[in-house]
């Protein structure tokens, strides 16, 4: 059994030693994801709280976690991102509006109810599966880490307009697949 699965088993048994081990192993990673997503909009104390909550979430839900590839890293990274995002949304950071612009909004006329919640993520997964580099990295930076287009362009040594164009194409693909899926359901 992998170390992560052993840790998970310990969490399921309510062993705080396992929780300590998990934090030792992934604490800095979770905090880094949170710090990256919040990009200076949350205080250090807030990030520490969010990071602690990530591990409490794992602690509480250990019995339903089935780690992919025998590692908890993806689960923790995903939880850290989402908790940070929600924390920022809860405090209604106006900076969050930066990502709430046109390249974040999908319009899917005619789709059935609750489509976004139930099927949108599935379409997103299909898109992620299909993305080639550098689009994949651009997608992750833009929508997982919520980096600004300008920063992504700088990171990848690309023209800002080129990054925007790639994002627009990805969004278009997602919108089309959602519309197609929504229309046939």
């Amino acid at each position: 059994m992998t170390e992560d699965k052993l840790i998970l088993e310990g969490l399921k048994r309510g062993e705080t030693d396992s929780l300590q081990t998990l934090i030792d192993k992934y604490g800095r990673y979770a905090a880094a994801v949170s710090a990256k997503v919040s990009s200076g909009k949350l205080s250090s104390q807030d990030i520490e709280e969010v990071t602690a909550d990530v591990f409490i979430a794992v602690w509480k839900t250990a019995s339903r976690i089935d780690p992919d590839g025998n590692t908890l890293k993806a689960y923790i990274g995903s939880t850290a991102r989402n908790r940070t995002f929600n924390e920022m949304r809860k405090s209604k950071h106006k900076e969050l509006q930066d990502i709430d612009d046109h390249d974040n909004l999908l319009t899917i006329p005619g789709a059935e109810e609750s489509f976004i919640e139930q099927e949108g993520a599935r379409q997103l997964e299909l898109l992620i599966d299909d993305l080639k580099e550098p689009d994949r990295e651009i997608f992750i930076r833009r929508y997982f880490f919520m980096e600004k287009v300008m920063d992504i362009a700088g990171r990848l040594n690309m023209n800002e307009k080129a990054v925007s164009a790639r994002i627009a194409r990805m969004k278009q693909r997602l919108q089309e697949s959602c519309m197609k899926e929504g229309a046939i359901r």
């Binding site: 170390e3 602690w59 995903s78 109810e113 993520a121 990295e137």
Partner: protein
């Protein structure tokens, strides 16, 4: 309808993010002002608090009032007793209840057995079926159903016809619920959230499966059909290889300098932009050791994705990184358990400077249902000098990578292989139809409550109270466009006719179509439970005696 991609990302399965990584340098920079000890302290304090609450709640022999701020600790229970699943999630590990006697379920009741004696499932609201059907050597019994607001909880059990025990980890590949139309045609299945859990009892001879369906149509007063398919077992194993990395590389020779790796990458990766490729060259020229860092773009990836793709594509040809089981030297590198599962092809290894890459197995066993697919991975090494296990630094695609591995380390390192192998126990299909009797499980009240939020005025128009909790339905009366689920969530209590209160806990929400397309939302509240593992139902004393709702301290009568 409009939706935000950043919101949709929240519902993407975590495994889609497994390749996301941060460089050590970036992690250090991002966390330099953070106090990781404080993180640990906060987490352990909260964990300890929840653990104590769990002890308290259960020790109060199931009579603890929901919403009680604290409970007296009367008897400490063992950790085993605290291990109770939540109703939407898998149940406890099989071994926990395996020791139960043959009449265990009959004595405890199925809901108590699965959710714990303190869960207080309302007995008089449960529909008890207890009828069996056999197929492919397995008897399936539809035991009990507790309807909720669209769906509910279904408990079923499985036993072998020959009375033998099941493997320690046994699960069901597929369960479906259909509402049958009055004309006899099969209705549409529409139950978006399906949690499940499995509990082995009676020395492993009986498997209890609990399925929770949430958010679909109401099933009360309707004929439904429940179909379960295919029992399978999961066998986990992990073993270290008998050969060292030096043995392997002596035959395969997949040790590349960074120069070589970059050269091959450059030649074959056409998708790289000219600018980026130039940067790689510049970095390589100035300082070889920096090139890798540069190719990380300072961001999410340790290894340049293009290079990874290249190595993976070429592992069986020019780089000779493929593993075929028997090389020209005649030396074999059988990985642990490879004799048992020879169909799994090892992807190979590459060492680039101080970075070791282990490519996973080809592990597709042809199963369409992902639950039945095997897993074979390599994410660690055993260091024979210290006996310690070295865990991977990160993963990308189908490879795990390890930083800081040098040629000098190779004679002492052996890869570790983890297997999770699925085996079909029975390919039976067990289907049952039944009528869901109305026993007052679901109570629907019309509301007309304006709730000011940061996003504008919302109106709560309905609340549905069930044993699982309550669901609010709301709309945005002043908005022309759908606004989704409000960020603001009020404190909610149920006020009972005897003057006591039941405190509810926010469990999130989703958009709903009320009058127009996705113009409203639903928010779910569960009974508050101090026990993080515990399930708490609204029992009949509460369900049948709700007088009013209290939202943020203001009381609203329920008629």
């Amino acid at each position: 309808m409009k939706g935000k991609i950043t919101d949709m990302v929240q519902n993407v399965k975590p495994e889609y993010w497994k390749e996301i990584d941060l460089t050590q340098e970036e992690m250090d920079a991002l966390t330099k002002d953070l106090n990781m000890e404080r993180v640990k302290e906060i987490a352990l304090e909260k964990a300890s608090a929840t653990e104590t609450a769990a002890e308290n709640r259960i020790s109060a022999d199931g009579k603890a009032n929901i919403g009680a701020s604290s409970l007296e600790l009367k008897h400490k229970k063992s950790k085993r007793d605290r291990k109770i699943p939540r109703w939407l999630i898998p149940a406890v590990a099989a071994a926990v209840i395996c020791l139960g006697g043959t009449a265990f379920a009959a004595q405890m009741g199925y809901f108590d057995l699965v959710y714990g004696p303190g869960s207080k499932a309302p007995e008089d609201k449960i529909i008890k079926i207890h009828e069996s059907i056999a197929d492919q050597g397995i008897i399936m019994t539809l035991e009990e159903i507790l309807p909720g607001d669209g769906g509910g909880i279904i408990l079923m059990s499985f036993e072998r016809e020959n009375g033998e025990a099941f493997p320690e980890v046994t699960q069901i590949a597929n369960v479906e619920l259909q509402i049958l139309n009055p004309d006899g045609d099969d209705g549409e299945s529409k139950f978006p959230s399906l949690g499940y859990g499995f509990t082995l009892i009676e020395d492993g001879k009986k498997l209890i499966a609990n399925f929770s369906l949430d958010g679909g149509e109401q099933i009360i007063g309707k004929d439904i059909q429940i179909t379960a398919e295919t029992l399978f077992s999961i066998h986990y194993d992990e073993l270290a290889a008998a050969f060292t990395l030096e043995d392997y590389f002596a035959v395969h020779g997949n040790i590349l300098s960074l120069e070589e790796a970059l050269a091959v990458e450059e030649a074959m990766e056409e998708e790289l932009s000219e600018k980026r490729r130039q940067d790689l060259k510049d970095d390589r020229d100035s300082d070889t050791s920096e090139a890798v860092v540069s190719s990380e773009s300072g961001g999410a990836f340790i290894i340049d994705p293009a290079a990874m793709k290249l190595w993976a594509e070429n592992r069986s040809n020019s780089l000779n990184t493929g593993y075929t089981g028997e090389e020209s030297s005649g030396k074999q590198f059988l990985l642990p358990l490879e004799n048992r599962w020879p169909e799994y092809t090892f992807g190979g290894m590459v060492l680039v400077d101080d970075m070791l890459l282990l490519f996973d197995y080809n592990q597709d066993n042809g199963m369409d249902n992902y639950k039945l697919r095997d897993g074979v991975t390599m994410y660690s090494l055993i260091d024979d000098r210290t006996g310690e296990e070295i865990f991977y630094s990160g993963s990308k695609g189908n490879a795990a990578y390890f930083r800081g591995i040098t040629k000098e380390d190779l004679p002492y390192l052996r890869p570790v292989v983890s297997y999770s192998m699925k085996e079909i126990v029975s390919e039976g299909v067990w289907s049952f139809s039944c009528f869901v009797e109305d026993k007052g499980q679901v109570k629907i009240y019309t509301l007309d409550i304006d709730v000011p939020t940061e996003d504008g005025m919302t109106k709560l128009i309905q609340v549905v109270i069930t044993p699982m909790g309550i669901n609010f339905t709301g709309v945005w009366p002043d908005s022309e466009e759908p606004k989704g689920v409000p960020r603001y969530r009020p404190e909610v209590q149920l006020c009972l006719s005897d003057g006591t209160f039941a405190t509810m806990e926010d469990m999130g929400g989703r958009s709903e179509s009320i009058y127009g397309f996705n113009d409203g939302f639903k928010i779910r509240y569960d009974p508050a439970s101090e026990d993080p593992y515990g399930v708490r139902f609204l029992d009949s004393d509460i369900l049948d005696n709700v007088k009013s709702l209290i939202i943020d301290g203001r009381e609203y009568d329920l008629q």
